[in-house]
């Protein structure tokens, strides 16, 4: 150790460190500061005993109070559910067709349905419900199975084309590749294209119209307006689930399309099915 240095001006001992001739005075800290430090040390030790703290080979020490963030989340969920119990009971009992959109219950259903949608439905329909090729856009006013609240609720509950639910929506379009010649398919495609466009071959479409009336009109209707009871799409409007160009239409007519959706009634609680129905209905296309 070097010998002690004392600052002449103040008479206080210095630390001996010098920067450009400026030395640091070694003034003692106040005693309460020391006691505060000791208190913090005691607190820290007590804390690591009471709460999960020390990392071990697998996991960490659990702490004497049995606290865990997971347990806290579980408790939060229980508390949250208890808070919403009344609204949940009300929603399960409510007649959704007459639920006023400005009511608290409607707001709750939309909020709850929105989170169910983002967790369960967004994988296919998109987080904004805009759908994708083969997955219907839920924001527009075109519905395969109906856009009123009861139809939406039924579709969600039973799903589309699945065998686990006898009430599932089930539409069956034949693969016309097995039934039609290639030219016949071309003619039908031209006719279907003519329904929503002014750019078509009139002779070919005329030929296709007869084939359409004999084979397709049973489901899609004589005028191609579709049938929501059968899940047959409207072929006259501007919206195409798989695409309205001739190549895509040819593919659709040749091999048919079979979209599927799970029966959410088997997977979700009654209140969640109702909430997500209200949510989808309020996205913009609800009838």
């Amino acid at each position: 150790m070097s010998e002690r240095k004392v600052d002449e001006e103040t008479g206080v001992e210095t630390t001996g460190h010098s920067w450009d001739g400026i030395e640091e005075l070694n003034n003692p800290l106040p005693r309460w500061w020391l006691w505060t430090l000791y208190a913090c040390i005691v607190w820290a030790i007590a804390y690591t005993i009471a709460y999960p703290a020390w990392p071990m080979i697998s996991g960490a020490t659990q702490g004497m109070l049995g606290f865990s963030t997971r347990g806290q989340v579980a408790a939060d969920i229980v508390e949250h559910e208890a808070k919403n119990e009344a609204l949940v009971a009300e929603l399960v009992a409510a007649d959704l067709t007459t639920l006023p959109p400005s009511s608290d219950l409607h707001r709750y259903a939309v909020a709850r349905g929105g989170s169910v949608f983002r967790a369960q439905c967004s994988q296919c329909h998109g987080s904004g419900a805009a759908g994708a090729v083969g997955y219907p856009n839920l924001l527009d006013n075109d519905w395969l199975w109906g856009g009123d609240i009861e139809s939406i609720s039924a579709t969600i509950t039973h799903g589309v084309r699945n065998e686990t639910d006898l009430d599932a929506r089930y539409s069956e379009m034949p693969a016309y590749g097995d039934l039609f010649e290639e030219e016949e398919i071309g003619a039908v495609v031209e006719y279907v294209a003519s329904l929503s466009s002014s750019d078509f071959d009139a002779d070919l479409a005329q030929a296709g119209s007869e084939l359409f009336l004999d084979n397709c009109a049973a489901c899609h209707g004589d005028e191609g307006l579709g049938d929501k009871f059968l899940g047959a799409p409207n072929l006259v409007d501007a919206i195409w689930l798989y695409g309205g160009d001739r190549d895509t239409l040819t593919e659709t007519v040749t091999n048919a399309r079979f979209g599927v959706m799970p029966a959410w009634g088997q997977r979700l609680s009654d209140v969640d099915v109702r909430a997500v129905s209200v949510y989808v209905h309020a996205l913009g296309g609800g009838e």
Partner: protein, 468 residues
């Protein structure tokens, strides 16, 4: 190794009673600041049936801040930010002009310490009596005086912690709940914490808070310059100091009055020092002594360092105004006033009807079955008035666009409850033949207006067509 202790016990300080103009000023400031603090929550202000009637209320639960006729919503928090910036600049301004006047007169630590010392003096007597008591044995009298003092301090501390919580909820209701032990635990915990800090900081830590805990003494060095007017000792007049019979050349008779009254326990004659909060009590004490010995006042005085050469040469000091009006203080004042005027302007032009438009961009547009193009907007409507109002939603645009509200059956009017924000989904549609349907983007403005009063608000946004 050093044989000195690493940690030093607190040196007890026993400030002597003093009277004079600065002491009187401090009494007035103490009464005003404490009065404002304790009484403000009890002032009532009628805002109608749906809103609280407390003049100053920070309503955390409803996320509102009420100040007399002004109501601040969370999205208007820039008012509070602006006030904080003004407070900071004000501190800079006052420090560069007048030194640590904040510390010496209005800082809560100073005000409550002053109050606690007042109680201490009232119960235990003045400096000498307190010194004797401190050194004396712990007999019955000492216990009685100490317990009385601590108990009185504790009452003040509880009152202080108690007053704080009244700013955050309706004061009369909370007082009733507190007394009947039905208030929220957070209220009791807050009172307990603030009682503890008031009791400990005001009663025992005192100057330690200023010296060791507060950052301001270290920042102030950058705020002060030679023209700053601050409490100082006219060393050129006072030295050589000495007792009267010693017949020294200076005016200072080394009576220690300035040291004995100092709440920080320092000697101002050592010059400017970090511990000095410029409470000016040493000026009062010294002036008193100068009067008694027939010397002019002002041996310790509010002076600027830049005055020293002139005063040493026997010339008068520069006028105070010249020292206060400097580029630095003028700059601080200008910025301070600019922010203040901007805040006032913002306060007076703001409306009690508002809308915020967030265009839904997932997806950017929705194609309808007839070929029309629809955009969706999440519109937040705020009714800041104390009663329910009917709002009308409309749009203006150079192109043809139609507006529709979700769930309103074709209506464009809706009721927004008092003091509430509601979220309304709004659809704007361009028919297939309209130019907006096939163009890239179209400018539009969404409007909300109170159907019963001539007030409206709007926000510009865009409409996305198919051509993107």
């Amino acid at each position: 190794m050093s044989d000195r202790p690493l940690y030093a016990p607190q040196e007890p300080i026993f400030p002597r009673r003093v009277s004079g103009k600065f002491r009187n000023l401090k009494w007035v400031i103490m009464v005003v600041t404490l009065g404002v603090y304790y009484l403000t929550p009890w002032i009532r202000w009628d805002r109608g049936p749906n809103l609280p009637d407390q003049a100053v209320l920070v309503d955390m639960a409803s996320r509102r801040f009420y100040f007399l006729w002004i109501e601040i919503w969370p999205h208007e928090f820039y008012f509070v930010a602006g006030l904080l910036i003004m407070a900071g600049l004000g501190l800079f301004l006052f420090t560069s002009a007048l030194g640590r006047v904040w510390c010496g007169y209005t800082c809560p630590q100073t005000v409550w310490t002053d109050l606690f010392i007042l109680v201490e003096r009232w119960i235990e007597g003045d400096r000498n009596a307190r010194l004797r008591l401190y050194r004396g044995k712990w007999d019955i009298r000492k216990w009685r005086l100490r317990l009385t003092k601590w108990f009185t301090w504790l009452l003040i501390a509880i009152g202080t912690g108690g007053a704080w919580v009244f700013y955050f909820t309706d004061a009369p209701t909370l007082l009733h709940d507190l007394v009947t032990l039905t208030a929220h635990p957070v209220a009791y915990m807050t009172i307990a914490a603030l009682t503890a800090t008031t009791f400990v900081f005001g009663g025992f830590m005192r100057e330690q808070v200023c010296i060791y805990m507060c950052p301001w003494p270290r920042i102030q060095a950058a705020m002060m310059d030679p023209d700053t007017i601050t409490v100082a000792y006219r060393e050129w007049r006072g030295e050589e100091r000495g007792k009267k019979h010693e017949n020294k050349s200076g005016d200072c008779i080394d009576c220690m009055a300035c040291v004995n009254v100092c709440p920080m326990g320092i000697d101002i004659r050592d010059g400017q020092q970090m511990e000095c909060i410029t409470c000016a009590l040493c000026i009062d004490a010294c002036d008193d002594v100068m009067d008694k010995i027939g010397k002019p006042r002002g041996l310790i005085d509010y002076i600027a360092l830049s005055d020293e050469p002139a005063e040493r040469a026997g010339q008068p000091a520069a006028p105070i105004l010249k020292k206060i009006l400097r580029p630095r203080t003028i700059l601080y004042t200008t910025i301070w006033a600019t922010i203040g005027v901007a805040l006032l302007y913002a306060l007076f032009v703001r409306s009690d009807i508002e809308l915020t438009v967030s265009p839904v961009r997932n997806p950017t547009y929705v194609l309808q079955s007839d070929g029309a193009v629809r955009n969706i907007y999440d519109v937040r409507l705020r009714n800041k008035a104390g009663e329910d109002r009917v709002f009308h939603i409309s749009l203006t645009s150079d192109d043809i666009l139609r507006i529709e509200l979700e769930g309103r059956d074709g209506q464009h009017n809706l009721v927004v409850p008092a003091d509430t924000t509601i979220l309304q989904r709004v659809y704007v549609t361009a028919r297939p033949q309209d130019p907006a349907a096939s163009s890239d983007t179209t400018a539009l403005r969404l409007w909300v207006e109170d159907v019963d009063a001539d007030i409206r608000a709007s926000q510009a946004t865009t409409f996305n067509g198919k051509d993107e």
